[in-house]
């Protein structure tokens, strides 16, 4: 049995059948981490003693017939911007180098209530700003498929940890593609739930109207099972929604699925297929995925999202604007880094922030401050909010003609370190993923094939209307069962 390939559902079955203990399972992953982490560098911190203690507690619960549920004892890795009480939460930034979370995020409380073992803090782009993990202040994470390539970002550490078999499943966060793009780069599944589906309490805010926590997993079933655990309205996040979950949960709905997509209308947005610079290998994988979906009986419908070309511009006004306001809290006073090169209050702010933030975070704060500043507010920020309305309308109109929308995830597979040194070039790698954050829809990235030119995995993206995750899971799971490559395993 190859433990490193276990999904969350498979691991749970082994635990509940008494074929393995949580301690054995977690020790196997710690061994795997010891073996491959020097090459991959997916984790910013790992408390082995805490992992083993949590595993022993889980085993004791199961032995006493008092488990916290089906997934009691399964390890999960957490992106370093989600608070776990007593653990570091650096957001891969120097400004939070010594910070220790005083409380659990709501998603973490839910994982604990289900007995899951919290195992390691995953690397990321500083404050989730980036598409390659190269903006981490601490380390560069390598793609398990090719160590010379980036894992994507910003949830690159979570993606690499799952793809390298260092963990069973991980949580990431997605503001403009930060779950879906690294999932595609690393050959795993990544879900951006509907805005409000999952509580953001305890997630360090980047762009509050766009951020959402979601699962990064080895298959679609696991993403559904994880969403079942972390979803729900939360009094501590007023933007969380009182949303219905299907009877028995999302994962239960996938049981007995035959891969029949008759009656499912899949929209093909022409603007996404007119984007210039899509790699031929990605186009090939995308076309083959469409053929698979067709063979399952899905009906393809041509649709239009006419404001697609404005979504990046809209995103790069709104996200930095919100970030500049959110990151004002890092002032060197109450927590985080305080510079010693200051003698009064204002110079403490200036130097603590100037020394504590890396270049990309500085760039976004500057951009956000600029578009919100007197004289520019209406010209940039308000105009972007109006364009956001148009982008939302595009999706509302499109979903009258189709049930899900199909697109590539990224224009190319994982790129090499240093290849995108110009910020604008890096931003444009998010061209297919940002619009649905602006619109508040849900989306999933599923591995589809290997780009023959780069030998790297490439995913497809499925988008559904707000709160219609069940459509994503059904379509993605059917696709996953029918696609040419059954298992995406990084050669590591």
């Amino acid at each position: 049995m190859d433990l490193k390939k276990l999904t969350m559902v498979e691991a749970a079955d082994l635990l509940n059948d008494g074929k393995i203990s949580s301690l054995e399972l977690c020790q196997a992953y710690l061994d795997r981490i010891a073996a491959v982490e020097p090459a991959v560098s997916a984790l910013l911190s790992l408390d082995q003693e805490s992992v083993l203690a949590q595993a022993k507690e889980s085993d004791a619960r199961r032995a006493a017939g008092k488990t916290f549920g089906r997934f009691d004892g399964v390890p999960v890795t957490i992106k370093d911007n989600i608070a776990v009480k007593g653990q570091p939460c650096t957001c891969a930034s120097r400004i939070l180098e010594k910070f220790v979370s005083p409380y659990d995020a709501t998603v973490i409380s839910k994982l604990r209530q289900n007995g899951m073992v919290l195992m390691g803090r995953a690397n990321m782009d500083e404050f989730a700003m980036g598409s390659s993990c190269e903006n981490s202040a601490y380390k560069k994470t390598c793609n398990p498929w090719n160590l010379e390539c980036v894992p994507g970002g910003s949830s690159g550490g979570s993606a690499a940890a799952v793809a390298a078999g260092e963990t069973v499943i991980a949580l990431g966060s997605d503001t403009g593609g930060s779950i879906r793009q690294p999932a595609s780069f690393c050959g795993i599944v990544g879900l951006k739930p509907t805005y409000g589906r999952v509580s953001r309490f305890g997630l360090v805010a980047f762009a509050s109207s766009l951020d959402q926590i979601g699962p990064m997993s080895k298959d679609v079933l696991d993403s559904a099972a994880m969403l079942d655990l972390i979803t729900g309205q939360d009094v501590r996040d007023t933007t969380s929604l009182p949303a219905e979950v299907p009877q028995g949960g999302f994962a239960a709905q996938l049981k007995g699925l035959q891969g029949d997509l008759k009656g499912v209308r899949i929209g093909i947005p022409k603007e996404y297929f007119e984007v210039e610079g899509v790699a031929p290998g990605v186009a090939k994988v995308t076309q083959e995925a469409m053929d698979v979906l067709k063979s399952l009986g899905a009906e393809f419908v041509d649709i239009s999202l006419p404001h697609t070309k404005y979504s990046m511009a809209c995103y790069y006004i709104i996200a930095p604007a919100e970030a500049s306001a959110n990151l004002a809290r890092f002032d060197g006073i109450r927590y985080g880094y305080r510079s010693e090169n200051a003698d009064d209050l204002i110079s403490t702010y200036l130097t603590s922030r100037g020394e504590g933030f890396g270049p990309e975070v500085t760039r976004r704060i500057m951009l956000g401050t600029y578009v919100l500043s007197s004289g520019y507010y209406d010209a940039y920020y308000v105009r972007a909010q109006k364009v956001r309305t148009l982008i939302r309308r595009d999706f509302t109109d499109a979903f009258e003609k189709c049930d899900v929308i199909f697109t590539p995830v990224a224009p190319a597979t994982a790129f090499k370190f240093g290849e995108k040194s110009d910020p604008m070039q890096m931003y444009l790698s998010d061209v297919f993923t940002t619009a649905l954050n602006l619109a508040g829809n849900c989306g999933i990235s599923v591995p589809a094939g290997i780009d023959p030119d780069t030998n790297m995995p490439s995913g497809i993206q499925l988008i559904a209307p707000s709160l219609a995750e069940d459509r994503l899971f059904k379509t993605a799971r059917s696709f996953e069962m029918a696609r040419g490559i059954k298992e995406f395993t990084a050669p590591l």
Binding site: G196, V235, T238, A313, L367
Partner: protein, 103 residues
């Protein structure tokens, strides 16, 4: 957008954002920001005069919880992350007002 052709006053924006920048960083940022702002100018092509702005993907009205007292986080836990404290009871801050001694 009337603001389109203006160069960006990086020093002014950095002061607003409370960021100390080295002269080299400021110069580099000026170029990068001009390139990004040049890109986002494309939004000016659209006539949005009759469009309402969207602040949030999910329109929501006020969310009000019951007015019930709950437990707060213990003070020592919150102060544990402070860069400097006075006897682990107060956050120590640099002098705020000039020419006034601290009691």
């Amino acid at each position: 957008m009337a603001a389109a052709s203006k160069t960006i006053d990086v020093a002014h924006i950095a002061a607003l954002a409370r960021l100390q920048l080295s002269p080299e960083a400021a110069e580099k940022l000026a170029k990068e920001m001009e390139s990004i702002v040049g890109y986002v100018e494309m939004l000016s092509e659209l006539d949005v005069s009759a469009i309402e702005p969207t602040a949030h993907a999910v329109p929501r009205s006020n969310v009000i919880r019951d007015d019930a007292a709950g437990e707060s986080f213990p003070r020592e836990n919150m102060l544990a992350n402070a860069p400097a404290t006075v006897d682990q009871e107060l956050i120590r801050v640099p002098q705020v007002l000039a020419d006034e001694g601290m009691a």
